[in-house]
Symmetry: C3
Subunit: 363 residues, 3 copies
């Protein structure tokens, strides 16, 4: 890939100055940049390291003095991370899946695959699968029977999609992502101790030990447009209805979404977060890394949970959460500040007891 500074600036809708015909091949950190690299120096802090590299051109913040930085040309961007989105999309060299269908792929004769799709080595495509135009299916992917995959899908290697999943356009799946595993749903013949504990918050009652019977997943997974799923993440099939991931939502690596759960639009589920079954998640929700969500609750639009939050009950729209159990971040912070002083407070209380009640400190 080769672009001139002018071409990149135009694609970003950004200003550029200097010798804008200069050609770059790659993006680089300022200190590592070679002479044919575009240095990403969007803040003065990063620009300081420009002299350690050989960059002749850089992306800078608005108003930066590019000539004082010793550059021959520069692009100026108002919001650096937005520029990163545009530049990295242009310069992405991809994974090299060759056009066409690799002869080693195993493709059911009833599958309908768009003519321009690229299917990698040893991929398996099941009966009646429909794959839209522009798809890039990596090596070793398995797409189960009756799956519908929209236009411009990109599946990295070893992605699996269970039977009957319905997936929108521009789907992007990282290696090892699992769509359409069966839900984790079991029942005991009689009321179990877990059911009792959940009702009483701690009392097992007199339930006897029993074996678990499986509830099969008859539903599938339904995914909107512009969804990305991370490496080795898992999205279970629904029991009767489908499990749903709304358009624009992104799941990070090792994220788990349980059966029947509905994730809204434009949500971010960060690394290793897990959502149990039958949860309703609104739009624009952000779950930080390792967040957990208990089953059968709802999470309103725009909720943000800090990393590590364990959400154990319904959350109204717009709330910012933290902690185990997850509570309003401000409340959590207030409590936490006192918690840090607890040992001193305990000594204070003992001293007060001694003074007021003339009693010896308890152990």
């Amino acid at each position: 890939m080769h672009y001139s500074i002018q071409q990149i600036a135009d694609a970003l809708g950004a200003d550029c100055q200097g010798d804008t015909g200069l050609i770059v091949e790659r993006a680089a950190e300022p200190g590592d940049a070679a002479a044919t690299d575009l240095a990403m120096a969007m803040s003065p802090k990063y620009a300081e390291t420009l002299s350690g590299g050989a960059a002749r051109v850089a992306v800078l913040w608005e108003g930066a003095d590019w000539q004082a930085l010793g550059l021959e040309a520069a692009i100026f961007v108002p919001r650096p991370r937005m520029a990163m989105a545009g530049i990295t999309a242009m310069l992405d060299r991809g994974q090299g899946v060759a056009p066409g269908i690799h002869p080693s792929a195993v493709i059911d004769s009833t599958a309908e695959i768009a003519e321009d799709a690229a299917i990698g080595p040893l991929a398996v495509i099941g009966a009646r699968v429909r794959i839209g135009k522009g798809a890039v299916i990596g090596p070793h992917c398995v797409i189960g029977m009756d799956v519908v995959l929209g236009e411009n899908a990109t599946l990295r290697e070893m992605v699996s999609i269970g039977a009957r999943a319905q997936i929108g356009d521009r789907f992007l799946a990282q290696p090892g992502a699992r769509i359409g595993s069966d839900g984790f749903s079991f029942v005991t013949p009689e009321v179990s101790d877990v059911e009792n504990v959940r009702k009483t918050m701690g009392d097992k009652g007199d339930a006897r030990a029993q074996s678990w019977l499986r509830i099969h997943s008859l539903g599938a997974v339904e995914i909107g447009d512009d969804v990305e799923v991370g490496a080795n993440c898992t999205v279970d099939n629904g029991t009767i209805r489908n499990t749903c991931i709304g358009s624009g939502s992104k799941l990070d690596n090792l994220v788990h979404v349980g059966h029947n759960t509905r994730v809204g639009q434009d949500c971010l589920l960060c690394g290793q977060s897990g959502v149990s079954g039958s949860v309703e998640i609104g739009n624009n929700v952000v779950l930080g890394g390792q967040t957990g969500v208990v089953d059968n609750i709802y999470i309103g639009d725009g909720v943000i949970a800090a990393g590590g939050t364990k959400i154990l009950s319904n959350v109204p729209a717009g709330r910012v959460l933290m902690g185990y159990p997850g509570i309003k971040m401000e409340t959590h912070t207030d409590i936490y500040k006192v918690q840090r002083r607890l040992p001193r407070m305990a000594r204070d209380v003992e001293a007060l007891k001694k003074a007021v009640f003339k009693q010896p400190p308890s152990d």
Copy 2:
């Protein structure tokens, strides 16, 4: 799949009324049900939505007035989730692995595979593997040398089973499950700071920084009957003895079981829970989602841990746990209630100090 209402009721051992010869093809939520669907309306709340769909037949709670609900026939069940187990098992359309051995599978000539087994495309079966009758091995599964797999196993796509694993009957593995990865076991030439910290609860002593030497896993994994393992979960080989999963136990997606650990019978390990090495877990234990268990402890029969619990020491049988570290759920709740009031309590203590000691509040 087509069943009459009578056939389904008979299979469940349940009563049915109305035109019980009506045929259904699928189960559906009441509001989504088509005319050939069986609506799952086991509670009045669900039955309310029947009018939104086109269902002519439904599964209802005992004593429900099916005619008032506008139905032509109904099945009546005392324990809805138990009925779900039976109905979903009957109506499961599966993943479509064709009978016989797919020509693209790579099968060692010394493997013994039951005649009726179905082996999907590109599966790899190693030397001396034994696979029992009724097995369905999905596409892209890898079964290592000397593995024994009992009768009626179902492996979804991309399951891997390491060499020498011994697995009972009716094993069910979700996509990407890993049985028989090597244990995470390392040692430093001299005593390490981690060893010191564990002994002293915090003091690293004077151990010097060292590199880690690997302890190989010579043991394998041993799994009982009726075990299910979730998508992308991992069960490590034992070091000398085998890691064991008892009959009837179920592991959810992304669950980790470390080397040497023994999980008893009929346990549930929910999504993303993790058990370290050399843990002894009794029977009928339930670990909620994202539970963690430290190494070298035991967890007695019937223990239930709420989601997010971190279990750092031995747990007697029957206990219900919560928190980090995991303690009795009741104790956790009592402490938590006070914690919510901590900011006010801190103010109270300051006021008391001022009143009793005439001292200014501390910062």
Copy 3:
């Protein structure tokens, strides 16, 4: 594998006594040992169970009375776990990947593979890949274009390595490990509520709901020598620079390392721990199971985090951490002790208020 007691002792640099010509085939726990097994009885506690097995030879602690234990020969070791490293390496029977390149593997004609490498069935090796001597690549592995893999690599089944990864010698990857997935990096056109919350610790400001734009990963993954990565773990590509794992570091199962993060040398990242993007981790750091690390912080050399710790800010070298948020383990323990007594302390405070202020207890 067959070794004499003398051979094993020599390999360990350990003393042995008795009939040191005796041959053993396997290692076994003392109580399970057959007559041709080497019993691992490195402490008096384990030696007690020797009589339950049929072992004639054992590995014992220094100074043990082997004859009194009824043995015919014994090896004496000063540090049992170090001996385990040596013995298990000798007796590891492996996974049986046959020498040479399996005919079903799909190998790009431009790949350079050392002559003695073993490549399992259905592996896929991309363009310009370079694989060093002594490599064992398991079945169903996918190695992307331009990857460099050093000498003596061992990849278990279904490992994937994304394009352009650079990996040192003696790399060991467990089944399903994912190297080089794309980073989880997104941006909204305008400032998002998440950005506001991070700045203010809780206030979303007036940001409007927006969709996410993807920042592609142009960087790759760079891995030193002697690194091991666990089953189904994930290491993301960097955005501009590479994500790095230093020599001697070991990642357990289901561990996640985010984009741009640099893990130092000789670190242990235990099961299900997760490190966000752009984290700098020093050398000899140990993260216990299910530890989480927020993005854009540093963790100094020699830091040890107990299982379940959530690290939310920079950590100086040498610190031992615990809790959510992670703080010094000693401080955490001090606070925790008081926390356990909180319900009593709350009652004390109420009694004090009543006595001092004559006010009724608050609810």
